[in-house]
């Protein structure tokens, strides 16, 4: 048993200058065989492993990660957590995730700082306003705690916002999820890793998968840079690199890998206590507990595995936010970076069995995967353990692309007459 983290253990360890803390997770060598192997040590992969062990008693399992855990999009995103989607199937998984986030620090005994500070989605055209009103009705009847707010309320929640009615896209109102918010992204990966490790899961870093071994229509194991690993169940959870891994098994994916960028400002005293998303102008912003403004926008259009995006996309985002929050003009950008996001044809995720027995895939979270981590891990673990889609995962199967059963969250096809 690991020693529990608490104010008391901190105080106890302080006596000895913190020399007695044990490793948050072990660094084991891969065993010859596991009951299941998760490929990809990001948030979704680690959460899957944790729930496989915790909910399904599968403890002879491993997570293999080519780099360091949490080093992909988990450690690169802007940490927005919300569940106010339009389609029922999206609401189900994102709300499961959000509600798990509420108790995650306690569950994992690792403070991932879920901060339900509220998420405001601005309405800046009549069309957008109507679309969010519709979402608000759907969310209310689904049982979410969300509401439309007026421009005056927006100003009250975010005093630095530009509510000039004569600006290019005046704020007509906003859609507000008070229980949405942010979390500490690295801590989600580390907390799940520590939790899974305690339950016996091997977390194997610096271990790149080079092949998926098959016996006819079923998987038998993996070849990796650290040797062959036998297993009958493989869960591929590798986000931007999912096509590369699935190609090894001959499974073609409806995925393109694009670059999504984010940036932070220098730390300043708090000026914004919620998350603001301005979809018409393509930008969103919150402020971390360190004081940095955390900013994101849209993806570059073309396939990109470099983790470095185009300056144009970043300029577009910053311009939108200077327009939305004029005071940031004199503040400075401290750091920018990019991640490889896996975009599906309908921009909704894939949680699915495949035509190959024992091969499962969890991907396609695109630009919004962080908010889904606990829910995704929870239902994907269930899907893998029982070899059938969890009820919430069912709509997200690969078969939807052949059936035309798309899950489209981009409500507006065109602008009105």
């Amino acid at each position: 048993m690991k020693s529990k983290y608490s104010i008391f253990s901190l105080a106890r360890n302080a006596k000895n200058y913190h020399k007695d803390w044990e490793k948050a997770w072990r660094s084991p060598a891969p065993k010859a065989e596991y009951d299941a192997v998760i490929v990809g040590g990001g948030g979704h992969g680690l959460a899957t492993a944790y729930y496989l062990a915790k909910n399904h008693g599968l403890t002879n399992i491993a997570v293999v990660e080519k780099g360091w855990i949490g080093g992909g999009n988990t450690g690169r995103n802007t940490t927005i957590i919300r569940s106010n989607y339009l389609q029922d199937s999206s609401i189900a998984i994102y709300e499961l995730a959000r509600s798990l986030y509420e108790g995650l620090s306690q569950d994992l005994n690792y403070n991932m700082m879920f901060s339900p500070r509220g998420v405001l989605m601005l309405c800046q055209t009549e069309h957008e306003f109507r679309a969010f009103k519709r979402t608000a009705h759907a969310n209310r009847l689904a049982g979410l705690d969300c509401r439309m707010v007026t421009p005056a309320e927006v100003k009250e929640i975010v005093p630095i916002i530009n509510t000039d009615p004569n600006c290019r896209y005046p704020i007509l109102g906003a859609y507000y999820q008070p229980r949405g918010g942010t979390g500490r992204h690295d801590a989600v990966a580390w907390g799940y890793a520590r939790g899974a490790d305690e339950l016996g899961v091997d977390i194997i870093q610096n271990c790149e998968v080079t092949g998926i071994l098959r016996d006819g229509g079923r998987v038998t194991g993996l070849s990796t840079t650290r040797g062959e690993i036998k297993t009958k169940k493989i869960g591929v959870v590798t986000a931007g690199n999912v096509s590369t891994i699935m190609d090894m098994a001959g499974v073609r994916m409806p995925i393109e890998s694009l670059c999504l960028q984010a940036l932070v400002s220098e730390p300043i005293k708090p000026v914004i206590d919620c998350v603001v998303m301005a979809n018409t102008v393509h930008g969103y912003m919150s402020q971390s507990d360190k004081g940095e403004l955390v900013i994101g926008g849209g993806t570059d259009p073309y396939n990109n595995y470099s983790q470095r995006g185009s300056f144009t996309a970043l300029e577009h985002t910053v311009t939108a936010l200077v327009e939305t929050f004029p005071i940031i003009s004199r503040l400075r950008m401290l750091r920018q970076w990019g991640g490889i996001v896996d975009m599906t044809g309908d921009r909704s995720p894939i949680l699915s069995k495949t035509d190959i027995e024992g091969l499962y895939v969890n991907c396609g979270w695109g630009t919004g995967g962080f908010k889904a981590i606990p829910g995704s891990g929870f239902v994907f673990a269930d899907t893998m353990a029982n070899d059938r889609p969890h009820k919430i995962a069912e709509p997200f199967g690969l078969n939807r692309f052949a059936e035309g059963r798309l899950i489209d969250e981009s409500v507006a096809a065109a602008v009105a007459h």
Partner: protein
């Protein structure tokens, strides 16, 4: 920001002067065979994409130049454009040889059809 050169009008410009059009050489089954298309054919056409880490073949349009669509071979890691070529053409032979994975399979099939 990438520099793109149009093979039709030879204009070079920033990527913002061009429009990215996704994977190249996607064949629309309905054009040639509107009747016998399976759901899977249609899925492959609409959604399944080559997504290689490395050499990729894609479509661009010379948006603010001549307006023509063209093909490009680009490395998705280094961002280097290896070649651009006509919208109805196959890539240069040496790049077809360099292609890997699903792209290699695709070109093998295409060349066989041609022959």
């Amino acid at each position: 920001m990438l520099v793109v050169t149009c093979p039709v009008c030879n204009a070079s410009g920033d990527e913002t002067d061009f429009h990215y059009g996704g994977q190249a050489h996607v064949r629309r089954p309905a054009t040639t065979d509107p009747v016998n298309i399976t759901d899977e054919d249609q899925r492959d056409y609409l959604f399944i994409r080559h997504n290689p880490k490395g050499l990729h073949f894609e479509r661009w349009r010379c948006d603010r130049g001549c307006g023509k669509w063209f093909h490009a071979a680009r490395d998705t890691v280094t961002m280097e454009f290896k070649a651009t070529y006509g919208i109805t053409e196959l890539p240069p032979a040496e790049l077809i040889k360099e292609a890997k994975g699903p792209w290699a399979d695709y070109f093998k099939k295409r060349l066989k059809e041609k022959a």
